[in-house]
């Protein structure tokens, strides 16, 4: 395997609130190779989104405090980058799509102007930006792109909004796409479509993908490797198939058990007994 494009070592992040401090991430370490697909799985509060935002220093500081740790992107230390380097990193090398597409797009600008803004920022060599915008809207499966590009976000359905987000992220040709719960806010049928879209775009353009989710179900078949996070720590990592078949950690086992199965006779859905995992 070639040198990893992303190396996270011993990342510790605290959130300092007015009456208490929360240890959101406690010593996370992992690597991402170029073109690889990694899934980070965990419940709300496990620290997975915080880790993802930390990659490009998108966390508001305060209240977040990076206690220690190192994040190397393509050999460069993210924490010591200056403002200009950071701006190139964000969107240009590591791009994001977020959970709520309806609020993640600026309501007073058209879809095309928001995508064009990104293109102009990271790919100044592009001369016909409008054509490029249409090309990307097509690529993410938006029908009648030439007309829809002048729409405002609220005129689009949830699924289409997320496609626009994906187009905006990929139009800058990033090395890594971070998808933070991309389908959680969408209808189940749309969820499948978006995951398929992501998979095909991944095939086509070859960027690395970090998929963040609480749903183990969408991980298999999409991600080659998986990290399981629980209360700020990575409790297990490995190849997806391995982890699914032979989960080492109690929490991982509990998570996998929670996935409802078509072939089971169980009458009740399983929950996770946190008390039993208290020493994790």
């Amino acid at each position: 395997m070639s040198k990893p494009i992303l190396q996270v070592s011993d990342l510790c992040i605290d959130f300092v609130l007015e009456d208490r401090t929360i240890e959101a991430v406690r010593g996370a370490s992992f690597e991402l190779a170029a073109g690889e697909t990694l899934a980070i799985v965990g419940e709300s509060g496990s620290g997975k989104s915080v880790t993802a935002l930390a990659l490009t220093r998108l966390l508001p500081v305060p209240p977040a405090v990076i206690k220690r740790g190192e994040i190397l992107f393509d050999g460069q230390n993210v924490f010591t980058m200056d403002a200009a380097q950071l701006r190139k990193l964000r969107g240009g090398r590591i791009a994001y799509i977020f959970q709520e597409p309806s609020t993640s797009l600026n309501p007073v600008f058209t879809v095309s102007s928001q995508i064009a803004e990104a293109i102009r920022l990271h790919r100044p060599d592009v001369t016909d930006v409008d054509a490029e915008v249409i090309r990307w809207l097509d690529a993410v499966g938006i029908v009648d792109a030439a007309k829809r590009m002048n729409d405002y976000p609220h005129q689009l359905s949830g699924g289409m909004q997320q496609r626009v987000m994906i187009a905006m992220a990929l139009a800058c040709q990033p090395d890594v796409l971070v998808a933070d719960e991309p389908t959680t806010a969408l209808d189940v049928t749309i969820q499948a479509q978006i995951m398929e879209l992501l998979a095909s775009l991944k095939e086509k353009f070859g960027m690395a993908v970090i998929l963040i989710t609480h749903n183990f179900g969408i991980v298999s078949g999409f991600a080659s490797r998986v990290l399981v996070m629980y209360r700020g720590k990575i409790v297990e990592q490995g190849l997806t198939e391995e982890v699914l078949r032979h989960p080492q950690h109690a929490y991982t086992r509990a998570l996998i058990d929670c996935i409802p199965r078509l072939d089971s006779n169980e009458k009740r859905l399983k929950t996770i007994d946190h008390a039993a995992l208290a020493d994790a």
């Binding site: 964000r90 977020f98 600026n106 007073v108 990104a118």
Partner: protein
């Protein structure tokens, strides 16, 4: 959008009716004699009183009084007790000067309020913001008549600058430009003082709106795209935060017209505020009813225009 406009217009009609009812009730329900010369004044004969009651329909039941007074108002039959001229005419005379004063103060409030608010939000929480915030409250707490007098003392005593009325008395200006500038000076001085509070209030709202907008998801997206903080602030956040500019119109107009009562008094500016003060002194009820009604109606109009402006600014409303 068409349905939005229609609904808004209908609402305005309803509100205008309510305003007229309230204006009417203030005067009639206030306990105390309706006669400007006092109930028990022995010099006034019963006949005079009877004619007075006749003229103002005081012997009819209240709803009829209301209808008749409103009719009289609009047909010009409602006349001032002071000089028997139709009140609408008197008000109409003062309207241009009033509009110049109040719209000028409004423009100053919105523009400088916007700038101050943006500045505060850009440096939120840090020293420049704390200072401008306290300063804003000082402006809001400043009594208009006090600062007017202090300013008058400085300007007149030390700078020999004319401040009263709408033109400098005793100086013959040559050419339209000079006359215009003279008028402009005389209007802008009181307008600026009126605007002090307005600027401060407006800046607080803009600042709050910007700080709230900066917490929205799409701001995080803008940063994640690699935009620098200035682009995030001035391009993405600002356009979503100017709603208070529009609601400000509805909020500031009544306050400005109110403040104008005292300011016009001090600067001898011939606007509706001064007319109102004189009417109060003379117990000129018809004028008082009409003034309260007209000023409220003007505010209503301002609100209507502001709401229509929403449609221009916010695509979500426009394309409803």
């Amino acid at each position: 959008m068409a349905s939005f406009i229609v609904r808004r217009l209908l609402l305005s009609v309803v509100l205008l009716f309510l305003i007229s009812v309230i204006s009417f009730f203030i005067i009639t329900l206030t306990p105390g004699s309706p006669y400007p010369w006092g109930e028990l004044n022995p010099k006034i004969s019963e006949e005079v009183k009877r004619v007075f009651r006749e003229k103002f329909h005081l012997d009819r039941p209240l709803p009829e009084q209301y209808a008749l007074i409103m009719r009289d108002l609009f047909t010009g039959k409602l006349r001032s007790i002071k000089d028997e001229r139709p009140v609408l005419e008197k008000i109409g005379e003062r309207l241009p000067a009033t509009l110049v004063l109040n719209l000028g103060a409004l423009a100053l409030s919105l523009s400088f309020g916007l700038l101050l608010g943006i500045y505060g939000a850009r440096h939120a929480g840090r020293a420049p913001d704390v200072i401008t915030s306290v300063l804003a409250f000082v402006f809001i707490a400043l009594p208009g008549f006090w600062i007017s007098y202090l300013l008058a003392i400085v300007l007149v005593d030390y700078a020999a600058v004319p401040i009263l009325g709408t033109h400098t008395i005793g100086v013959a200006f040559t050419g339209k430009a000079q006359v215009f500038l003279d008028y402009w000076w005389h209007a802008m001085l009181p307008a600026s003082i009126l605007a002090i509070g307005g600027i401060a209030v407006q800046s607080r709202f803009i600042r709050a709106s910007m700080i709230e907008t900066l917490r929205e998801d799409y701001i995080r997206t803008a940063r994640a795209k690699g935009l620098d903080e200035n682009a995030v602030f001035y391009r993405h956040a600002l356009r979503n935060s100017i709603r208070p500019l529009i609601t400000g119109i509805g909020m500031l107009l009544p306050a400005l017209i109110s403040g104008a009562v005292i300011i016009e008094n001090i600067f001898a500016y011939p606007g509706m505020g001064r007319l109102g003060y004189e009417a109060v002194l003379e117990r000129d009820y018809p004028t008082l009813v009409a003034l309260n009604f007209v000023t409220a109606a003007l505010v209503l109009l301002g609100n209507l225009l502001a709401d229509l402006l929403y449609a221009v600014v916010d695509p979500r409303v426009r394309l409803e």
